[in-house]
């Protein structure tokens, strides 16, 4: 990890990146944010923002269960999130209820369970500020390695699955006629997304982690003119928001995760304006 941190320092020789924790935060952000943004392209296509919300809100319960069972709460949180994700995906296929309803039931269950456990066991509350708002400035080596591995996994998955997921989103029977089976691909996507959400929670917190998936992808839709453009705009915008957000949070002394998301939203507003101007130009005689 030191090699990557040194590389970052030599490529970006800025004063605000001199402290070790700032370089770690930047490395974590520029790995996790583009990974979230590229998976976010499919979150938008499959309308899965609510799924990601339900996973992130299971973090409370995951941490609480970890503390009660004597496990490291960071890992129990990730494990529980992935379990919840699998539960939603399996149950949505087994029942005739709509996916939204299944997610809604899981959402209620994990939040209620978390509140019951936390309120019954005094002293657990101190862990939850970092779950709510994220704490990228305190990221450790083990977590950076996990983020790096996950970013690579997302890259490999997107290389194999991008076209297949596009066809599945457009028309499942058409995808099937091409030999693309929906269950394994959607399950693999859902599990990877659940893992990504729980790891990204460290950066921006549970309240904003869905924004890390949706906002760059939504901005990219305003700017891109092709599927390839969608992918690359989302990745680049996520990296730019991360860097600019981290810098501004350093200058203002604000929460890093929230500042990164705020920059992302401002870029979305700018892209929306640009799209509007482009449309007006096209309409003009």
């Amino acid at each position: 990890m030191d090699f990557l941190l040194d590389l970052l320092a030599s490529v970006l020789p800025f004063g605000w990146l001199e402290p070790d924790f700032m370089r770690r935060a930047l490395l974590g952000l520029i790995l996790i944010a583009p990974a979230c943004a590229t998976m976010g392209v499919q979150v938008v296509s499959f309308r899965m923002a609510f799924f990601s919300d339900a996973i992130s809100h299971s973090a409370f319960t995951g941490v609480a269960l970890g503390l009660i069972l004597g496990l490291d709460p960071r890992w129990s949180m990730i494990g529980f999130g992935v379990l919840v994700g699998c539960g939603v995906l399996i149950l949505a296929r087994q029942t005739e209820l709509s996916t939204d309803t299944v997610i809604g039931v899981f959402f209620a269950a994990v939040v209620a369970l978390g509140v019951v456990v936390v309120s019954a066991r005094r002293g657990l509350g101190r862990y939850f500020e970092s779950v709510l708002f994220g704490d990228i400035l305190a990221i450790r080596d083990a977590e950076l390695w996990l983020i790096l591995a996950l970013a690579l996994a997302v890259l490999v998955f997107e290389a194999v699955a991008f076209n297949r997921l596009l066809l599945l989103a457009l028309n499942p029977p058409l995808a099937h006629s091409r030999g693309i089976k929906s269950t394994p691909w959607e399950m693999a996507y859902g599990i990877l997304l659940a893992l990504l959400v729980m790891v990204a929670l460290r950066a921006v917190g549970l309240l904003l982690v869905t924004a890390l998936l949706v906002v760059p992808a939504a901005t990219a839709r305003n700017l891109a003119r092709s599927a390839s453009g969608l992918f690359w705009w989302a990745s680049v915008l996520a990296a730019v928001s991360s860097m600019l957000g981290l810098y501004l949070s350093y200058v203002w002394g604000s929460a890093t995760g929230a500042t990164v998301i705020l920059v992302g939203v401002l870029l979305f507003v700018a892209s929306f304006g640009w799209r509007l101007v482009r449309r007006l130009r096209l309409v003009k005689p």
Partner: protein, 250 residues
């Protein structure tokens, strides 16, 4: 007896405890257009899904004169795509994703593009290659969906009410293109439709379906007023007339 392309032997489909298709037995003739007709909820789309291997079924679905249970290359033309108007996915992206597993974000190979252009050229819409899918008309979307099925060099094309979302002239144009392709390539077409005029003008054979097969055979024999009333409702009728349609005149 002409060679069969698809053979249905006691094919039944049950979904959630409800019988959707009940003991279908039929042979679909190779190299011509067969229409599947029936009212809403008759199981027409489910039958296509069973042939595609999407709907679990009882009985046997066999292919070709050797009666093999191995599916040949099937092309599928759906009614529509689930795509919003603001999506930047282009016709070029869509056709490339049909042909190759190479992720679109690494670029599209020239050879892939050439095949897409040729497929669009064949059906007269080459100019929309770079247009966003969400911005093209209903008729153009149907033709792009037909182009993707042709790209696979399918032996059998399954078309699920392909012209349901287009106007009458668009529908006629689409069916003309379909007929041209069928004549040129000699492939088997299985078309789901509840448009009596389209079926009587373009199909050679027809299967009338309402959960079970009501009647089947050559259009001229099957499309009688009695059968049509049996399949749809007592208020439906067939008006035969002597003149030829411009779309079918050769």
């Amino acid at each position: 007896m002409p060679d069969p392309a698809v053979i249905l032997e006691n094919v039944s489909v049950e979904l959630g405890g409800r019988v959707i298709l009940d003991s279908l037995n039929a042979e679909i003739e190779a190299g011509c257009l067969t229409a599947i007709m029936g009212p809403n909820g008759a199981g027409k789309t489910t039958l296509l899904h069973a042939i595609l291997g999407l709907a679990p079924h009882k009985g046997r679905i066999l292919f070709g004169k050797n009666r093999s249970d191995r599916r040949p290359r099937l092309g599928y033309v759906p009614q529509r795509l689930d795509l919003d108007r603001g999506s930047p996915i282009t016709v070029r992206d869509f056709l490339a994703s049909i042909q190759t597993d190479r992720p679109l974000w690494t670029g599209i190979a020239r050879l892939t593009d050439q095949s897409s252009e040729a497929a669009l050229e064949r059906i007269g819409i080459r100019s929309i290659l770079n247009a966003p899918m969400g911005k093209i008309s209903g008729g153009e979307t149907q033709r792009v969906l037909l182009a993707q099925a042709l790209l696979r060099k399918s032996e059998i094309l399954l078309l699920d009410e392909p012209a349901a979302a287009v106007d009458i002239s668009g529908e006629a144009l689409f069916c003309d293109i379909l007929e041209e392709i069928q004549n040129e390539l000699g492939i088997t077409l299985l078309l789901v439709s509840h448009d009596l005029s389209i079926v009587s003008t373009h199909a050679r054979n027809v299967i009338c379906l309402n959960r079970s097969i009501i009647c089947s055979g050559p259009v001229a024999q099957v499309m009688t007023p009695d059968n049509v009333r049996k399949v749809f409702s007592p208020h439906t009728d067939v008006y035969s007339h002597s003149h030829s349609h411009p779309s079918t005149a050769s």
